[in-house]
Amino acid sequence: MAAIDVSIITKQNQRLAIKLALVAALMFGFGYALAPFYASFCQFLGIDRANASLTQAGSALRVEFDVNVAADLPVTMQALDGVQVAQAGGQVKARFVLRNESDQPVYLRAVPSFAPVRAAGVLQKLECFCFNAMSLAGNEQREVTVVLLVAKSLPAEMGAATLSYSLQAIPAFTHKVRES
């Protein structure tokens, strides 16, 4: 058996080692590439990322929007701006999409509630789709909004508040509209 030709092997080895070192260097770069990739990925999917405006403001409140639909309603509702930052003295606007999944018209009302309850004193509704009863034609899709006025001074301990909407059918109203 011939001895291994050391010089040939050495050259092959070196070439392979350089390639492998290059892979390692690329993977180091890949780690860094994850940072911008992550930012745009979250933005694309609308995932709630840590938000600089939350920490830079002297006083701010995280406002979350939650929706529920009563079991017997053939309607879907989705918060388009699920999380917002409320700056003291500023405004918050959030949009929702309502969709009637049936081909019958529905009559409904959104019942708002705040958690914690005292958040209602800090976030005042300027305009809200919940002020009035609504009707949705068969298969109609509609975008609705709420605008909140944020108090000048925010209680520091509150941190976050949730404004939740429950969609409910209005039988009496339905009745009236049908009769007329």
């Binding site: 050391v6 080895n13 392979l16 492998l20 993977m27 994850l34 992550y38 999917l45 939350l54 830079q56």
Partner: protein
Amino acid sequence: MHSPSIASTHLHTPGEHHAEHQTGWARWLYATNHKDIGTLYLWFAFAMFITGGVMALCIRAELFQPGLQFWQPEFFNQLTTLHGIIMVFGAIMPAFTGLANWMLPLMLGAPDMAFARMNNWSFWLLPPAAALLLISLFVPGGAPAGGWTLYPPLSAQAGMGMDLAIFSIHLLGLSSIMGSINIITTILNMRAPGMTLLRMPLFAWTSLVTAYLLIAVAPVLAGAVTMLLTDRHFGTHFFNAAGGGDPVLFQHIFWFFGHPEVYIMALPAFGIVSQIIPTFARKPLFGYVSMVYATCSIAILSFMVWGHHMFAVGMPATAQLFFMFLTMLIAVPTGVKVFNWIATMWQGSMTFETPMLFAIGFVCLFTVGGFSGLVLSIAPIDTQMQDTYYVVAHFHYVLVAGALFSLFAAVYYWLPKWTGYMYHEGRGKLHFWWSMIWFNVTFFPMHFLGLAGMPRRIPDYALQFTQFNSLATVGAFCFGLGQLLFLFNVLHTIRGGVGPAPAQPWEGGNTLEWEVPSPAPHHTWESPPDIAMVRRGLIAQAVYHEGEDEA
């Protein structure tokens, strides 16, 4: 044709031999011989295992009963953090690299590792790295205390101990990358004639795949801690929300490294037991090719499941489902492996020497750890179990009963080859049964603690957890004590053991390392092994059939 004994003659390759005739400390400092370096790695790993183990006992002592007895909470956190980092990067990983250094050239019929001098560097980066970690205990603010995962914002706010840990991780990463380049090059370029890739011993396969994993993910961890470092000192905002960064990004990058890292600690163990079980069952490994494919698929899947460590961060449900199902998918190749080991033992003429006992112990306990892992992979369950002792139980079943037991198996298996002497079988078995029993006493109750809601990483706990915690602490101290027996066994063997070992102390070993004398001489395979000898071994391992190449 050469006979095996040729292996012991000194046919020097030119240019690599200045250091090898040195004695005393210089032999080790300038070591370029793969066996010397392997020995260095193994002793280093053992020293770190003891260091990390003492820290584990300090943790368990505090948890013997509720209330604060020994440590302040800050120091307790430093203990858990350093214990984790030291065990992962200081004990388990270097031990596997040491084994690869010692055994790969012998098993493949190569005279040495591909880059002997770089090999010296890879090792000697480790002691300074370990020193940095230990020094961090004594600087203002103490060692890192945010857990081995180093999550910001805790790690971003910590004292200068964190910087030392970051530099330590840089050194460890560099060492791993250089070690991996050496392993891959040796395996791909320096095999004996006749030993194609699909005929290599499985330990070589798992070492190869592990080395690739390391080259892919060690730089990612290095990047993550570098970003942490620049966030801490140079005004960048990768993870700082106040500057537009996001701490959750760190978790993504960390676990993109971290999950493959788990397999970096498991795959070599799979390789080791795949060598040992056929030897003591006196049958070829069942399903060799499926073992290779299973190894590769585990490696590939391991890149895609990192999110299962982040179910609780608030991930979209679709992402949770994606990570959950991919994680469960890993159970398939792992199951193939367990099935093959059992099939290898099936109807074999088994004997139960210490290495075999540890290998079987590995298969049983690793399976338990695998099952609790499967439980945790279910997102809704994980959100409940996250950061409880159930998780601690799970990963110690895979790391202690997996990685550590396989290392014990490897040491007893190859000790005759390393030292030239046989260890004392009775004491080896005692070490096994002692470890097996107390390991379970330590970690099995932690499943219950976790299910009952005891959080991890806490120095004090609610009264109802007392009994199981006391039990676990007793178990841990007994387990720790038993490792002194391991040290004693190894030292006793080095000093002559129960007598000289033959070249082939195990009846069923057919890989090339058993063709060289025991102890393996300083230089082996200076000229590659005879092709007839290689083929004889390959036929016995059923990876080659008579006349296959001619066809």
